[in-house]
């Protein structure tokens, strides 16, 4: 029996010793990592709104779809596949494995916004008001993202068909493992946008612009007005525009928002958070307006919209010469090469607010109000009276007193202000369903810079009011119905 006793003793001893050596504090693994964290505090969700993915986007294909854009040789022959396809209004613009510009950055932004919206209310260390304000900012950001996405993939808003027109999937959760996506209707997307913006308007703390990278009530209201305008709801847009402009310097405002007066100095290319014309910063890399661009020019028609004295034509922004240097642009054609910065600001901009309000007022028969708003902008863009030379900025009288010519003038002012910045395509879309306007026909032309002759012409195809989902997305989502 002795051995058995011995073994038992040894075994007990082993267990005892083992228990002694292995007993270690449970908290050993519970350390707070540095540098990489899992968000839990309210302040961390606040920091999440400071993210370059939420500011920058690379989608500039819609810029090329605008009717103010022409292409020129010889760059046209050497142009890349996508530039050529999009300019020709072809739907297939991506090779098989490419990630679409229209979805890549915006959907990543949606992930971040959805995460904040779904989680911030359960975060620690913040008051409910602070949490709601952060959630409100994220909702406004989500609305902004969806607004551009619904314009990419859903038909222009038409109340009669919006409940059946397909847009893109409605994604409200941040989940990379989700694989089932079905397209929601245009109406569903707009409902979410409006609901998000209304929540934002009520929950965001700051009324005035505190920092251009962050949402204020003023910016959210301006954005909602823009959304209403694209739905044809001009009456709903007006009060929002009034409030937005009025509240820029409201409670919480910490940066000034004002138009640059080109008569005083050209602003050059301030970065998106330093551009005083921004209420809310969003920017995209726009290759059509980069100085390296040799392919896309303004059409002669668009160029003709400018008064020759228009300060926006300064050499800082436009070149009047083509390449090579020896081949001057044929006289009278007025094709201008765009040499702006390749960064386009397309967040909530003050010039846009004034032009939107001018258009809304004109539509609602407030013509003097409309003229005042458009002239407010033009005073900062065109020369004042110098000696005998009359000021160039007033709206011609015969236009100022007539509703439709005035609306047309304001729309042209939008081209003058935002040429080659992508704004035009959004305007073309909403006008296509606007009862005031007949369906327009648009063409894209390729010019030979030496002869000035049109060498190729492409007629607009109505199916190009929307982008097709890329082959990659279609490959990933078997049941998805693509746009034609």
């Amino acid at each position: 029996m002795k051995p058995i006793y011995k073994y038992t003793r040894n075994l007990s001893l082993s267990i005892l010793l083992l228990a002694t050596v292995v007993s270690c504090k449970k908290s050993f693994l519970e350390i707070v990592p540095k540098g990489r964290i899992i968000a839990s505090k309210t302040t961390e969700y606040d920091l999440m709104l400071n993210n370059l993915d939420l500011i920058n986007s690379n989608g500039d294909n819609h810029v090329v779809l605008g009717d103010e854009i022409a292409a020129v040789e010889p760059a046209w022959s050497a142009a890349g596949y996508r530039d050529r396809q999009i300019f020709k209004y072809e739907g297939d613009i991506y090779t098989q494995d490419e990630d679409a510009e229209e979805t890549l950055a915006p959907l990543r932004a949606l992930y971040i916004y959805n995460k904040i919206i779904n989680e911030v209310m359960a975060s620690s260390g913040g008051t409910e008001a602070a949490q709601k304000s952060i959630r409100g900012e994220a909702m406004a950001g989500r609305a902004w993202t969806y607004f551009f996405l619904v314009n990419y993939f859903g038909k222009p808003y038409n109340a009669a068909t919006s409940a059946t027109d397909l847009a893109l999937p409605l994604i409200t959760a941040a989940d990379v493992t989700e694989t089932k996506f079905e397209r929601a209707t245009v109406q569903q997307i707009y409902d979410l946008i409006i609901s998000d913006l209304n929540t934002a308007i009520s929950d965001v703390t700051n009324t005035g612009v505190v920092f251009r990278g962050r949402i204020s009530k003023a910016a959210a209201k301006g954005l909602l007005a823009k959304v209403y305008m694209s739905m044809g709801k001009h009456a709903e847009a007006l009060p929002l525009l009034n409030q937005s402009i009025a509240e820029i310097a409201g409670p919480g405002a910490a940066v000034s928002v004002a138009l640059y007066n080109y008569n005083t100095a050209l602003p050059g290319f301030p970065t998106t958070v330093n551009d005083t014309e921004n209420l809310y910063s969003k920017s995209l890399a726009n290759s059509a307006s980069a100085s390296s661009n040799r392919l896309f020019y303004l059409t002669p028609e668009a160029a003709a919209l400018y008064d020759p004295a228009d300060l926006r034509l300064a050499p800082t922004y436009y070149a009047t010469q083509a390449t090579p240097v020896t081949a001057a642009i044929p006289a009278g054609k007025m094709i201008r090469r765009i040499v702006t910065s390749n960064v386009t600001h397309f967040g909530v901009r003050l010039a846009d607010l004034y032009l939107m309000r001018a258009e809304v007022k004109a539509r609602l028969e407030d013509l003097p109000g409309a003229v005042a708003d458009v002239e407010f902008l033009r005073k900062n863009r065109l020369p004042n009276a110098v000696g005998a030379t009359a000021a160039k900025w007033p709206v011609p009288v015969q236009i100022a007193t007539s509703k439709m010519p005035l609306i047309q003038f304001i729309l042209q002012e939008r081209i003058r202000e935002f040429a080659a910045q992508g704004y035009r395509w959004y305007d073309m879309r909403r006008l296509s369903v606007d009862p005031l306007f007949e369906a327009s026909t648009y063409t894209h032309k390729v010019y030979n810079t030496v002869t000035g002759l049109v060498t190729e012409t492409y007629a607009f195809k109505p199916e190009r009011w929307v982008f097709k989902f890329s082959p990659k997305i279609m490959g990933e989502n078997a049941g998805l119905v693509n746009n034609p």
């Binding site: 050993f28 400071n50 493992t177 989700e178």
Partner: protein, 1193 residues
């Protein structure tokens, strides 16, 4: 029992020698009471005059005078007669003969020991002897499991744990044969004199199988006989003599079946038994590297991006005692969640108890030469100019007009371009010829490269008494790289001490300190892809400015220089001295531990490790550095040269350069306690081990950068980062799209990571009757790798293994030609978890800073949460056979394995609608690896003066992706062409387009699955691609032959990797700016319609319309070639100086060696591609020569 033992302490050569002998005799003490008398003097001759003196006293006297020890039983002395003796200058033999005359005792002398025994009474009848003995190794350690066989009889025995055996009723003069794996068999005649206490010292075979019987898994050293696991021990003779690199891992090539070593410089990938994770290939997630264990503790894997010294790289191969590769689950599962890729256990040397002091010097110089810059066959200057003339047509310049090239974003203008632009796009032939007359290759080779030399000197000492041993080494490594101006000196001290306090407690302490100091100048990293006509030094020896290398045109530089009032001259050879980088690394590895025997069979072991590493990097761009001047110009605002510029950065005039300091700091500690219960009773042998360990890895680095630094005054200037973080416009040399410049505050940066692990493990080994073995092991790992669900952590890892030692079965006793035969079967799970912060079930965010953020600080999603994420699990089944036949002439291990890795961690591609189509780390799918591994050792010829041994390793691996997540599948041809996994195919599959040749416009065509031939760039689907094979070797291994003739040894090691494929790098150009040299094949490209009949190489196109897909050619089936190769890795000739000569200078051995490395290459491709340098611009470290010497004292 009356035990009386006197020992002398202190270390001198005699004493050490004596202790060794005493050790050998310790076993005898267990059965017989022996008195041992100490001696104090060592006279060889004995002078003695005594009468009627007790024998014991006489013996003491003889002992004193002779230095010989006496061993005897006190009982014997009782019956002896007094002695009368008269000796003068007598020998010991004479003295003993007189003393023992007529005594009932007999004696024998061995090794200065006189062993006294009772004289046996001879009988007339045949005497049957009972043989009892002990089998010991050279150091006197018992050898358990040695086979003792009686020649010509079936009678045999095996030694027990103590090395003891007994054979009863043997006839006198019987001959026993003692065999033990790895040792030279011995035949001994049994006699009455030696039967009672036979000590058999076995001599180790001098070959790779030395002490292969003991393997270490990092937690315990185990008798291989008692383990069912698949262990492979590396032949350290080959490893320590491989001298092309101080990286010990690179030296493992071809020595371990199933271990693939990529030996190309800067690519240290080791793979054991095929791919069981894909994370490592994509640079995220998990590593495909095995787990490295040094002296029992896992070391962190250091990435090149970490600013820390690498622990593995710091190990001096000369200090390594053994390397064991753990391959199957039973061997590796004790390492748990990090062992799925196998484990490499490195054990460094230690001293031996009771051994003499040994001093060893080993030094070598490895002459590596310059890289082979001619490896890729490119155009010479004449050809390049001729080709350029063909390409640079008016249409070409329409795309790249001067007005575009001559801008900040134009990319620079080469001298050749200028010839065109300055001459109306139509230079004369004479102008072109003038350019073509220059060829810079010789200058590149001479001015930017030098002969690389690696040298190492290691001096080591080791020795030990009965309570203390040590091994210490100091080494110096000088790495002279092929880049002029670089210095790299490595100094290292490594000391291991073992203390044995008593029978219960022993302690060790390992101190390993490495200091590395390196520096570099601004040597231009350039190869023959540069413009071949661009000289760097003129005929008069003046260094030339090469403005084209700045990427700016001359006008842009002149304008910026004038406006910023800063020289923007770029002279590559002058730049050499304008900056420097210094790095200081200090790495200390401290290990300590104890073993405490609590009661018999039960012991507790503690292991404690601490690693501290410091790294300091100082990078100075001097005042004259182009980089500094350019930075100044990029932030100097002046509309014209006449305006005094406004400088936003400190200028040359004020002070100087840019200093960047990076300080890295890493600490790691380990604590491990384990209990081991080890009992052998009758036929049962049981070892139970249970333990717990905790580990923390901490690393941090801090970077600071100042501008306007004056290296003499040590002052720096202030910079207004707040302003320049925004866009500064109107600058002389804009950085951003020709618009302006901006610079985010880079004056400070820091990062910090802490990883903690805690693990519990247990292990059981049971052997019955030396025949049947069972191994069980279990482990649970938890870590703070945050973001993982607790449930994902509690996945225990386990393994079960069995072994049948057939050779020990009774029915095998008669099969004398088989010495060892065992069958192993194991099954188990190992794991692999993602690195901290890489993959997670919750979103991991990291901070970011930008001028676009409120208060400058924001965050970004580092890794989106993946709730489905789980650890990678690899289930391995292994069946192995070990045998040794013909007296150990031929021994082999054969392993068959089947591995299934599930939930493979790697880059997966979530649905585009989730926002992360570019990939996240996740579970990709399942992959299987099946294979065969053979390790064969054969003593082909064994004679007195000549021997020839061969080691052959062979591995066959077949992998297959058996399941794949929907995230990972590519449906398009473009997506599939570079995919790393495809359902139903091998891991690392290589797909290719079916090349359809060129059409009549020189555009490459693809042949689709339905036979359509097209140039359409977007048409291919995944199913249109051809599977060409895998890029991982299917067959791999090595063959070593060692020939020894007298003092000469010739060793040749060959490695082979066969059965895989690779893409052929073509180095062509198809469109765009023609500025980079191209392959000679470019001469054969399509030029005019009709060329498609005899060339496959697509046209160079100046316009991109219509769109073409040159990948149809580049990644076409015609450009996939076999990657198989056999390389004679090294041939070494050793010469041992004759013993007589060596002894004259008091040395034990001196040997010289000459080694040729990477001597010969056989490949299956006909394009001269060395698959080890696939895709590289040049090869290096081939055909190197090493001279080495080894001196032991």
């Amino acid at each position: 029992m009356n035990l009386n033992l006197h020992l002398r302490c202190g270390i001198n050569r005699h004493a050490l020698h004596k202790f060794l002998l005493i050790m050998k005799l310790v076993i005898m003490l267990l059965t017989t009471a022996i008195l041992q008398v100490s001696a104090h003097t060592y006279a060889q001759k004995i002078t003695l005059n005594r009468s009627n003196t007790p024998l014991e006293k006489v013996m003491k006297e003889i002992r004193t005078q002779s230095g010989y020890d006496f061993f005897y039983d006190l009982e014997f002395i009782k019956n002896t007669k007094p002695v009368t003796i008269n000796l003068k200058n007598a020998t010991i033999e004479q003295a003993l003969e007189q003393s023992f005359a007529g005594q009932p005792l007999t004696y024998s002398i061995a090794n200065k020991i006189v062993i006294i025994k009772e004289r046996l009474i001879t009988a007339a009848v045949p005497v049957l002897l009972d043989l009892r003995g002990t089998v010991l190794d050279e150091s006197g350690n018992p050898l358990a499991g040695a086979s003792v066989r009686v020649k010509g009889s079936t009678s045999s025995a095996q030694t027990n744990e103590g090395g003891e055996f007994s054979l009863l009723d043997l006839p006198a003069n019987a001959v026993i044969v003692v065999t033990y794996v790895g040792y030279v068999p011995q035949e001994i005649k049994v006699s009455a004199q030696n039967a009672a206490n036979m000590q058999i010292f076995m001599k180790a075979e001098v070959n790779s199988l030395t002490d292969i019987n003991i393997v270490s898994n990092g937690y315990q050293t185990i008798s291989k006989e008692r383990s069912a696991g698949s262990f492979a021990k590396v032949d350290m003779n080959v490893v320590s003599n491989r001298t092309t690199s101080m990286n010990i891992l690179q030296s493992l090539d071809g020595l371990v079946p199933g271990l693939v070593v990529n030996n190309a410089p800067n690519r240290s990938q080791l793979m054991i038994r095929g791919l069981s994770t894909t994370g490592g290939t994509t640079g995220v997630g998990t590593t495909s590297q095995p787990l490295y264990v040094v002296d029992g503790l896992a070391v962190p894997i250091t990435n090149a991006r970490d600013n820390f010294p690498d622990i593995i790289l710091s190990i001096n191969p000369q200090d390594v005692e053994s390397i064991t590769v753990l391959k199957d689950a039973t061997a590796a599962s004790i390492w748990g969640a990090r062992a799925a890729n196998g484990v490499i256990v490195i054990t460094t040397k230690k001293g031996t108890f009771n051994s003499k002091l040994k001093i060893n010097y080993n030094g070598f110089v490895n002459f590596q030469g310059k890289p082979n810059l001619d490896y890729q066959k490119l155009l010479n200057s004449r050809q390049y100019i001729d080709v350029a003339k063909e390409i640079m047509t008016p249409a070409y310049f329409a795309q790249f007009p001067y007005s575009t090239a001559n801008t900040v974003t134009g990319g620079g203008i080469t001298p050749l371009d200028y010839l065109y632009y300055n001459n109306g796009l139509n230079p004369t032939q004479a102008q072109l010829d003038a350019l073509a007359s220059f060829d810079n290759r010789q200058q590149i080779k001479d001015l930017f490269y030098r002969d690389a030399v690696l040298s190492n000197h290691t001096l080591s000492l080791n020795g030990g008494g009965d309570k203390y041993t040590f091994y210490g080494s100091g080494s110096y490594t000088n790495t002279v790289s092929s880049a002029p101006g670089e210095k790299n000196n490595n100094y290292k001290i490594n000391v291991r001490q073992d203390f044995k306090f008593n029978n219960r407690l022993s302690v060790y302490l390992l101190t390993d300190i490495t200091y590395n100091k390196s520096s570099a100048k601004r040597n231009l990293n350039i190869d023959y892809f540069n413009n071949p006509y661009q000289m760097f030094r003129d005929a008069n020896g003046n260094n030339l400015s090469v403005p084209t290398m700045t990427g700016y045109s001359n006008d842009v530089l002149a304008d910026a220089s004038a406006r910023a009032r800063v020289s923007l001259d770029y002279n590559p050879l002058d730049e050499f001295n304008y900056g420097s980088t210094q790095a200081d690394n200090l790495l200390a590895r401290l290990n300590t531990g104890f073993k405490l025997n609590i009661v018999k069979g039960l012991r507790i072991e503690g292991t404690y490790g601490y690693i501290a590493g410091k790294n300091k990097n100082t990078d100075l761009e001097g005042i004259q550095s182009y980089l500094v001047r350019k930075e100044v110009a990029s932030f100097a605002v002046a509309a014209s040269p006449s305006i005094v510029p406004k400088y936003y950065l400190p200028t040359n005039g004020l002070s100087g350069g840019r200093l960047t300091n990076i300080n890295g700091d890493q600490r790691k500690w380990d604590i491990r306690h384990q209990l081991i219960y080890d009992v052998t009773r009758d036929k049962h042998a049981l070892t139970v081990l249970a333990g717990q360990e905790a580990q923390e890895q901490f690393s941090t680095f801090t970077q600071s950068r100042v501008r306007g630094f004056d290296p003499t005054l040590l002052t720096s200037a202030t910079v207004d980062y707040a302003t320049i973080a925004g866009l500064v416009t109107g600058v002389a040399l804009p950085q951003l799209a020709g618009v302006g410049s901006n610079l985010i505050n880079d004056s400070f940066g820091t990062a910090e990571t802490t990883s903690r692990y805690t693990s519990y493990y247990g292990n059981l080994g049971y052997t019955y009757d030396r025949k049947y073995t069972l191994n069980l092991s279990w482990r649970n790992d938890q870590s703070n790798l945050f973001g993982k669900d607790k449930s994902a952590q509690n996945k225990p890892i386990y393994a079960i293994g069995t072994k049948w030692s057939i050779a020990n079965e009774d029915f095998m006793k008669s099969v004398t030609w088989v010495r060892d035969l065992a069958l192993r079967a194991t099954y188990g799970i190992t794991g692999n978890s993602p690195e901290a912060g890489i993959a997670s079930s919750q979103d991991i965010i990291r901070p970011g800073s930008s001028a676009f953020f409120q208060n400058g600080i924001g965050t970004a999603i580092q890794t989106p949460g993946n709730p489905d994420l789980s650890w990678e699990r690899t289930a391995t089944t292994n069946i192995g056979l070990d045998f040794s036949v013909l007296n150990g002439r031929l021994s082999a291990s054969v392993d068959l394995y089947s591995k299934k890795s599930t939930d493979l961690l790697g880059l997966i591609y979530p649905n585009s609608f989730t926002g992360f189509p570019l990939g996240i780390t996740g579970n990709q799918g399942d992959i299987t690896n099946k294979g065969i591994e053979v390790m064969l050792h054969s003593n082909n010829i064994r004679s007195q003066n000549f021997s020839w041994t061969t080691n052959w390793t062979f591995a066959y691996n077949k992998s297959k992706t058996v399941d794949i997540s929907s995230f990972t599948q590519s449906t398009t041809g473009a997506g599939q062409i570079d995919a790393i996994a495809k359902l139903g195919y091998a891991a690392y599959p290589l797909f290719a387009y079916k090349y359809g040749g060129l059409d009549n416009s020189g555009a490459p065509q693809v042949i689709l699955a339905d036979g359509t031939v097209t140039t359409n760039p977007t048409i291919t689907k995944a199913e249109d691609l051809l599977y060409m094979g895998t890029t991982q070797p299917v067959y791999n291994g090595g063959l070593s032959n060692n020939f020894q003739y007298k003092a000469f040894t010739l060793s040749a090691n060959m490695v082979y990797n066969l059965g895989h494929v690779m893409r052929r790098t073509r180095n062509l150009s198809y469109s765009g700016v023609f500025r980079r040299n191209v392959s000679e094949d470019f001469l054969n490209r399509w030029k005019v319609p009709g060329d498609e009949a005899f060339t496959d190489i697509p046209a160079f196109r100046t316009t991109s319309s219509p769109a073409v897909e040159n990948n149809y050619f580049e990644k076409g089936d015609i450009n996939v070639v076999s990657a198989s190769f056999v390389k004679l890795r090294d041939v070494t000739l050793f010469y041992d100086l004759p013993k007589s000569l060596v002894n004259r200078i008091q040395a034990q051995g001196i040997s010289f060696r000459v080694q040729l490395s990477n001597v010969m290459l056989w490949t299956k491709n006909k394009y001269g591609i060395d698959p080890e340098f696939y895709g590289a611009n040049y090869t290096s470290n081939q055909h190197t020569v090493t001279f080495g010497v080894n001196v032991s004292l």
